[in-house]
């Protein structure tokens, strides 16, 4: 009982602190620097490209697809050994695993990872 109460108190205090912090920080409407101050100094000139122009990680969607298929293969070999002994149970487990991975593949598809432009 005491443990439950203590836990509840800690959770309440943490939530209160979080809310207070968000409120306090959000009310400081004056930002530290303006947009011109944050822009790079080009001697009065202006860049035509956004800050991420050079650094956008284009390989992200490709990485996603790689991880999805690689994890699949990594677990299939040991699973094949276990499947002989376990049978239907192992089949069901692999089905769930593949279903989860498929969500990632579908997501990558939606993001255009399979489109070569």
């Amino acid at each position: 009982m005491l443990t439950t109460l203590a836990s509840a108190a800690v959770v309440t205090a943490a939530a209160g602190l979080a809310v207070a912090a968000v409120r306090l920080l959000a009310d400081r409407g004056d930002p530290a620097s303006t947009w011109p101050q944050r822009a790079p100094f080009l001697g009065g000139g202006w860049s035509e490209t956004h800050a991420w122009n050079q650094y956008h990680p284009r390989y992200y969607p490709m990485t996603l697809v790689f991880i999805a298929f690689e994890m699949e293969m990594m677990f299939m070999y040991p699973w094949a050994v276990v499947f002989v002994r376990q049978g239907a149970k192992a089949l069901a487990e692999m089905g769930m695993f593949l279903a989860l991975l498929s969500i990632g593949i579908v997501y990558a598809w939606r993001e255009g990872a399979f489109r070569w432009q």
Binding site: W35, Q37, F41, G44, W46, S47, T49, N53, R58, Q117
Partner: protein, 439 residues
């Protein structure tokens, strides 16, 4: 308590000043490097005061506003403008609407005004200058989604609504990403009132375009520009012309030192330039020779050797740039007043940034010697005789098309390109120089 002590300490330190070179100001602002109370900084982020020297119409206005808004608070703007010039029209930049101080004419004590403004700012007696432009993101995200976070395409698509940096062949046969930006007009090393549109591959300039920003009918603040303009229409003592020439060359050399980060040498050259402008007893030619010896002891000459050499024959047909490439051309040879003084031309070989730097120092020293001889005999230049300005024979003999310079710099490192532009001391804009006095 502690904060006010810090304020007092900050107020006593040299004032960090960002000089924005407008039309009609020439290299006048660079002479402030000689003043120990000031520190000329290369970026507005380091400055508390921006000195707007000259006039800022046309494309210079928005650029001045941007630079002004990039200064951290507390900040102020001091406007150094020509005395008696026309009031700027409706295209006046917002930054000039409420300057902390206005200095009229080149004779005003700008350094003291800058120091006073800085102290008032830090003491809280002067309100910080508000933004001249809008506080908006220069390139708002325009991608898909609630926060513009999305885009489309993986290989060079349009993430965040903006195209990716695409690749292009570089000088070594590699395909590297390209980035384009407009640099200037207030960047140390670039010609006055000129925007450089640069396409970079890493630090290599892949393409360069120099765009002079026309400022119509800008009054002249710089006494050097004014003196050479006057010499086209009225008889002017040779001693005054030569002192103005020495003053200009020393300022151009100081600008190169600033670009190279040699602050002590820049201060020394700027101090000599001030002396040359001060009058008869202003500066001893031997002091310029001593500066030349000090320069040879630095590594600058070695690092600028072979930089900015134009392929084939030098495109310059006159002026110090031509003489630095070994071309014996000087309009002063055709002036009887100079012939009577025993004028002898100074010429270098090589035609690179190093030769141009050495040439300018040698011409400054030579001009001071000529000035002292001319003052003794009272020699006068007549407007009917040929006139050699610091940029070449008047009206436009020493000029070179900016496209030629820009094309020669494609494939150069950015540092070499800036060194080349600084050493060339180009005056591309007719509005920067008085009408027709310089190319």
């Amino acid at each position: 308590m502690a904060v006010s002590a810090l304020h007092r300490l900050a107020a006593a330190a040299p004032v960090p000043v960002f000089v924005a070179r407008g039309a009609g100001a020439g290299l006048l602002g660079g002479e402030l490097a000689a003043d120990r109370r000031l520190r000329l900084v290369a970026s507005p982020r380091q400055a508390t005061v921006v000195l707007a020297a000259g006039h800022f119409g046309g494309g210079l206005g928005p650029a001045l506003d941007r630079v002004h808004d990039q200064l951290p608070h507390p900040r102020a703007l001091v406007w150094w403008r020509a005395a008696g010039g026309p009031e700027p029209g409706d295209d006046r930049p917002g930054a000039l609407d409420h300057p902390a101080a206005v200095v009229h004419g080149p004779g005003g004590d700008v350094a003291q005004v800058l120091v006073d403004t800085h102290r008032r700012l830090l003491a809280g007696d002067q309100a910080t200058a508000p933004d001249a432009g809008a506080d908006e993101p220069p390139h708002p995200f325009e991608g898909r989604g609630d926060h513009g976070q999305g885009g489309e395409g993986m290989m060079g698509g349009v993430p965040f609504g903006r195209p990716m940096a695409m690749t292009g062949d570089d000088r070594d046969g590699l395909a590297l990403g390209q980035v384009s930006a407009d640099l200037g007009p207030f960047l140390v090393g670039l010609p006055a009132a000129t925007v450089a549109r640069v396409t970079f591959q890493g630090e290599v300039v892949q393409a360069l375009e120099l765009r002079p920003q026309a400022v119509p009918e800008a009054p002249v603040l710089d006494p050097v520009l004014a003196r050479f303009d006057e010499a086209r229409h009225r008889p002017v003592p040779v001693a005054e012309l030569e002192r103005a020439r020495a003053r200009h060359h020393l300022r151009a050399v100081a600008e190169c030192f600033r670009l190279a980060g040699l602050w002590a040498l820049a201060a020394r050259a700027a101090s000599l330039a001030r002396g040359a402008g001060a009058g008869v007893a202003g500066v001893d030619p031997a002091a310029v020779a001593a500066l030349g010896r000090r320069l040879r002891a630095s590594a600058l000459l070695a690092s600028w050797s072979g930089v900015g050499t134009f392929p084939g024959r030098s495109p310059f047909t006159g002026g110090a740039n031509a003489r630095a490439a070994g071309l014996a051309a000087d309009a002063r040879r055709g002036d009887p007043a100079y012939r009577a003084l025993g004028f002898a031309m100074v010429v270098q070989h090589g035609g690179d940034a190093r030769a141009r730097l050495v040439q300018r120092l040698a011409e400054a020293r030579h001009a001071l010697e000529l000035a002292s001889r001319a003052a003794d005999v009272g020699a006068v230049h007549h407007p009917d005789h040929p006139l050699e300005t610091p940029w070449g024979p008047a009206p436009d003999g020493g000029s070179v098309a900016l496209e030629v310079v820009a094309a020669a710099l494609a494939g150069a490192d950015w540092s070499d390109a800036l060194a080349t532009l600084c050493s060339l001391d180009l005056v591309p804009d007719a509005a920067v120089a008085p009408a027709g006095a310089a190319p």
